[in-house]
Amino acid sequence: MATATFKIWRGDASGGEYRDYTAEFDQGMVVLDVLHHIQAEQAGDLAIRWNCKAGKCGSCSAEINGKPRLMCMTRMSTLPVDEPITIQPMQTFPIIRDLVTDVSSNFKMKRSIKKFKPRPPDTEDGAWLMDQQDVERVQEFRKCIECFLCQDVCHVLREHHMHDEFIGPRHLVYAAALEMHPLDTEDRVADLKKLHGAGYCNITKCCTKVCPEHITITDNAIIPLKERIADEFYDPVTKLFRIFQPKKK
C-alpha cells in the first residue's frame, strides 16, 4: 500500500475548485479504482462517469496531470506520486458536475454527417465481397470507442470553441470510415470542406497522441480527407482530368 494525494476538481457549471484527497492504493490499481475508494469513503457524491472499466466503452475520460486520458486505463504505477496528481474534467466540454461533462454536442455533430449508403449487393444471396486489405483501412477507424479525448485535446475546440464550424477529430475519423468504406457510394467531400471545417485542422497531431485506441487519426484519417478535398477544390489539374474521365457510378 502506498499513498497519493489527488487534486480533484469539484464543482458544477456555477464554478468550482480543486480539493485535495489522500488515498491509499495497491499495486496494479488504476486511477479510477482510487477515485472509487475516495467516492465510497470520503466523498459519496463525487460525480464520475464510468462504465466498463476495461478501456472499451470510453466513458471515464478526464485530464490527469493535464493529459487527456481514460481513468480506467491509467495505472497508478505510471504516475509520479511524490507530488499531487491533478484530475480535472475535460476542458472542451461544458461541466455538469465534478468530473462529468456534457458531451452531447458530439452526438449532434455526428448526425450532420451523411449516413452510410452501400452499393447494391454483389451476390445473389445479398452479400458483398470485400478485400481484407481494404477492410483493414476502415477497421482502424472503427476501433474508435468515442471517448472524445481527441475532441478534448483539439485546440480548435478546446481553446476556440469552434463547435459550429469544425466537427473535430472524432468525427473526421467517422467521416473517413464512411468515405473510405469499400461499399459506400455517398459523397461527403463538399460537406467536409464547407460544413465540417476540415480545413481548421492544423495537423498538430495532439488527437493522435491521446487516442487510447491508438488510431493514427491525423495521418490516416484527416490528411487523406484533406487530400480528397484538395482533389475536389484546389487541384485544377485533377479537375481537368476528371472532366474527361467517364463517370464511375
Binding site: G66, P94, I203
Partner: protein
C-alpha cells in the same frame, strides 16, 4: 441548484498555462532550434554563390545549376540581363522548390505551427491568441499546393540522382576524367536516399498513388505501391529530419572540400 441551462466549461487557460507536469516545452524547443538552425545555415549557404562544387560533386542547394560557372551548369554563365540587385547565386533559382515542398509538408506544418506559431505550443497548453483561421482560409489555405511541390520534388530526385552519377567521375591533375568513388560520392548518395525516403513517404503521394481509392487493393499495382508509400509515411517525421540534416551536411561537405578545409578521401 444552478440554472440547468447554463453550460460552461472550465476557465480558459492563459498562454503557456497547463496542468501538465512533464517537459512539454522540450519538443517544440528542439524543433524550433533545429528548423531555425537549418534556415540560418541554408540561407547563408545560398547567399555564398561560391564553393558549391568540388570535383564531380555539386551541393544539393545548387542543383540543378541553371546558370553558373561550374561544369554542372545547364546554360553556362550568368546571363547579362540578370538584374544587378538580385544575388548571383544559382541556389536562388531553385531552392524555392524543395523549400516549398518542406514548407507545405504535412509533417512540417504541424511542427512549425507548434514551435513557431504556438498554435498550440504543445497539447493542452494555453494559446497566446483568441482568433483562429486554421487552414480553412487565406493565407494558410494555400498549403493545399503541396501536391504540386511534390511533383517538383520528385523531379529534383532525378536531378540529384544524376548528380550522384556525376560524383563518380574525377579529374586527375593531368586532366583525365576517370571513374571513382570518394567519401563525397557516398555523402551525395545518402542524400538522395534520405530525400527519397522523405519524398516517397509524402502524404500527397500516398493519396495520389492509391489512397484516393476506396478500394486500395484495386488501385495502381494492386495496392503494393500504396503499401510502400504508407510504410515510409509512418516514418515521415524521421525521414524529414534525417534528410534535412543530411542535405545541409552535404552542402557543408562539398563546401569544405571546395575550400580545402576537408580532404575528400577516395575509396576507389
Amino acid at each position: 441548484m444552478p440554472d440547468a441551462e447554463v453550460r460552461v466549461s472550465l476557465p480558459q487557460r492563459h498562454f503557456g498555462e497547463t496542468a501538465r507536469t512533464d517537459l512539454w516545452w522540450l519538443q517544440p524547443l528542439v524543433v524550433f532550434l533545429g528548423l531555425s538552425g537549418f534556415i540560418v545555415y541554408s540561407t547563408w549557404a545560398a547567399f555564398q554563390g561560391a564553393h558549391y562544387t568540388y570535383q564531380g560533386y555539386l551541393s544539393p542547394f545548387y542543383s540543378p545549376e541553371i546558370f553558373g560557372n561550374s561544369r554542372h551548369s545547364w546554360f553556362g554563365p550568368w546571363p547579362l540581363w540578370w538584374p544587378g540587385w538580385l544575388p548571383y547565386s544559382p541556389a536562388f533559382l531553385i531552392l524555392w522548390a524543395p523549400g516549398g515542398f518542406r514548407l507545405t509538408c504535412y509533417y512540417y506544418r504541424g511542427a512549425y505551427y507548434k514551435s513557431f506559431w504556438a498554435a498550440p505550443l504543445s497539447c493542452t497548453v494555453g494559446k497566446p491568441f483568441k482568433k483562429y483561421r486554421g487552414e480553412a482560409k487565406l493565407p494558410l489555405i494555400l498549403q493545399n499546393v503541396h501536391r504540386y511541390f511534390l511533383y517538383l520534388a520528385l523531379l529534383f530526385l532525378v536531378f540529384l540522382s544524376i548528380d550522384v552519377y556525376h560524383a563518380m567521375w574525377f579529374e586527375t591533375p593531368e586532366g583525365v576524367v576517370q571513374f571513382g568513388i570518394g567519401v563525397g560520392t557516398i555523402v551525395l548518395l545518402i542524400n538522395v536516399i534520405l530525400l527519397g525516403g522523405y519524398t516517397f513517404g509524402c502524404h500527397s503521394l500516398r493519396h495520389l498513388i492509391g489512397g484516393k481509392k476506396d478500394c486500395v487493393s484495386k488501385s495502381f499495382g494492386g495496392g503494393k505501391p500504396y503499401d510502400c508509400v504508407s510504410c515510409l509515411n509512418r516514418k515521415h517525421m524521421l525521414f524529414a529530419w534525417m534528410s534535412l540534416f543530411w542535405v545541409g551536411f552535404t552542402d557543408f561537405y562539398v563546401r569544405m572540400c571546395s575550400m580545402g578545409v576537408f580532404t575528400d578521401w577516395r575509396i576507389i
